[in-house]
């Protein structure tokens, strides 16, 4: 699916991030240039230490780049956060055990000062969106790992940010559950039209989900390849056996290998 280049939602130019550690400086991101358009589904893939999570955290203003420019909706990441530009989903669901599922989804709404009625209305809507209708009164421990992760996605969607940032959200789940959630995530993306940044370790997951795949490699963390996926927007699970799918997966693998070759 090739979109006409709409206004960029995320724009990184010559982005650098150096951590000062006890063992000396670590170059987590080196000269990263990337533009993400509105409504794109962008996966970041690469071995640990390649800076994919660091890049996502930079977009969320959880890390601060040491060089270059990064714009989110045309603002600095800090400003974008104050404008509630994004929802963030972590690897663990991180639901509060003392709040019900609905209570967890209300958390950002309470902090952002939504009215009580609107909190209820939005909670119901996103519970429906992640297919957890009727589970609002349950406590997190009463739900499976996959359902907990869906609840955490609902929490990130509740305040209607345009951007959804997901850091290996399904990394801790088994493959069967992961397949289902991938399918559901695509449906959700289709229905909401959000821009999604998705960090993963899994080549099939990246290829299956994305309109754009960003291949990264470590030491220093950098982008080695950006692949615009030719796959159609409509993606049944068995598209993974198609020739196109396998070709993209091959190109991603090649990109990952190339990144390792010059270690």
């Amino acid at each position: 699916m090739s979109q006409p280049p709409s206004q960029p939602v995320i724009e990184a130019k010559a982005l650098n991030l150096v951590f000062q550690t006890a063992d000396g400086p670590v170059h987590a991101l080196k000269d990263v240039n990337l533009t993400i358009g509105k409504g794109e589904f962008v996966s970041f893939i690469g071995p640990s230490g390649c800076g994919k999570t660091t890049f996502l955290r930079s977009i969320a203003a959880l890390e601060h780049p040491t060089g270059g420019t990064l714009r989110v909706n045309g603002m600095t990441p800090d400003e974008a956060r104050q404008k509630r530009a994004y929802g963030y989903v972590f690897q663990a669901a991180g639901l509060y055990p003392w709040r019900t599922i609905a209570g967890n989804i209300r958390l950002p709404l309470e902090i952002m000062g939504f009215s009580r009625a609107e909190q209820e209305e939005r909670t119901e809507r996103v519970l429906d969106l992640v297919e957890l209708k009727g589970f609002g009164k349950k406590f997190p421990w009463q739900l499976s790992g996959g359902m907990q992760q869906r609840a955490s996605i609902a929490r990130a969607l509740a305040f209607d940010a345009d951007i959804l940032l997901m850091d290996e959200p399904f990394g801790a789940l088994d493959e069967i559950v992961r397949d289902r959630l991938n399918e559901e995530l695509l449906k959700l993306w289709d229905r909401t039209g959000k821009t999604i940044g998705f960090v993963t370790h899994s080549i099939p997951e990246a290829v299956y989900l994305s309109t754009k795949i960003v291949v990264m490699s470590p030491r220093p963390g950098r982008i080695t390849d950006v692949i615009d996926s030719p796959l159609p927007k409509e993606r049944p699970l068995d598209i993974r056996d198609s020739r196109e799918f396998i070709e993209i997966a091959h190109r991603v693998r090649e990109g990952l290998r190339a990144g390792h070759a010059d270690d």
């Binding site: 969320a60 959880l62 509630r84 972590f90 991180g94 003392w98 958390l107 952002m112 406590f139 421990w141």
Partner: protein, 288 residues
Amino acid sequence: MNRILPVLTVVLVIVALWYVAAVGMNRAWVYDQASRAGVEPPGLGGLITATINQERPVLPAPHQVAAELWKSTVGMAVTSKRSLIYHGWITVSATLLGFAMGTVLGVVLAVGIIHNRAMDLSVMPWAIASQTIPILAIAPMIIVVLNSVGLQGLVPKAIISAYLSFFPVVVGMVKGLRSPDQMQLDLLKTYNAGDAAAFWKLRLPASVPYLFASLKVGIAASLVGAIVGELPTGAVAGLGARLLSGSYYGQTVQIWAALFAAAIVAAGLVALIGVAERGALKRMGMAR
């Protein structure tokens, strides 16, 4: 039923050992009496009856302690100066006041420690140092100093209780308020939440299980503080006073009865905290 049996067995073993020890330790007095009277020392049967029914034994037998407990609680009016309920209430009221003061102080210090770098670096060493000073050494000074400014009775004892009970609360609450991991703090950051929201929505609820663990230690420490606080007050009233007067007059049965009363009160107070804990965790959905 299968829980009661093991407990009962252990209790029986302890009581049996206690009787053996009572016979052994009180034997000397029986022999001494016999030699003074110039009669043969009694045989085994006589020895046992003579050792476990003395008025001022070295070690009172369990039934003597139980009888004394019964007599001084159920067996007399609570207004009597010899009633353990009268003395127990005086100690418990000081314990509860001190426990409340210590808990508030502990929580306030913990909140300060996690939000203020200077307090983080400076308070904990002093809190630890405060607990290395023997309470027996500092209690009389607190009583004397407060008496000189006109405070006596309940409040000085409560302050000694608070001195002992704030410490577990500080330690537990600092750990509890710091228990949310980086991911949970990052999540709040993505909502652009401030320190206040992080405290009320995350840190405080996360610290509740730690708080209750600390309160259990704290209330037992409070009781010890209140009893110690009663020792230097000239033995007027309270379980501590009962212990002290018992030792003045060699009333070992009275001492042991007061000791057991204190132990029963402590168990009761800890159990009350346990009930509150279960209720709170159930309401928060954290009890399974």
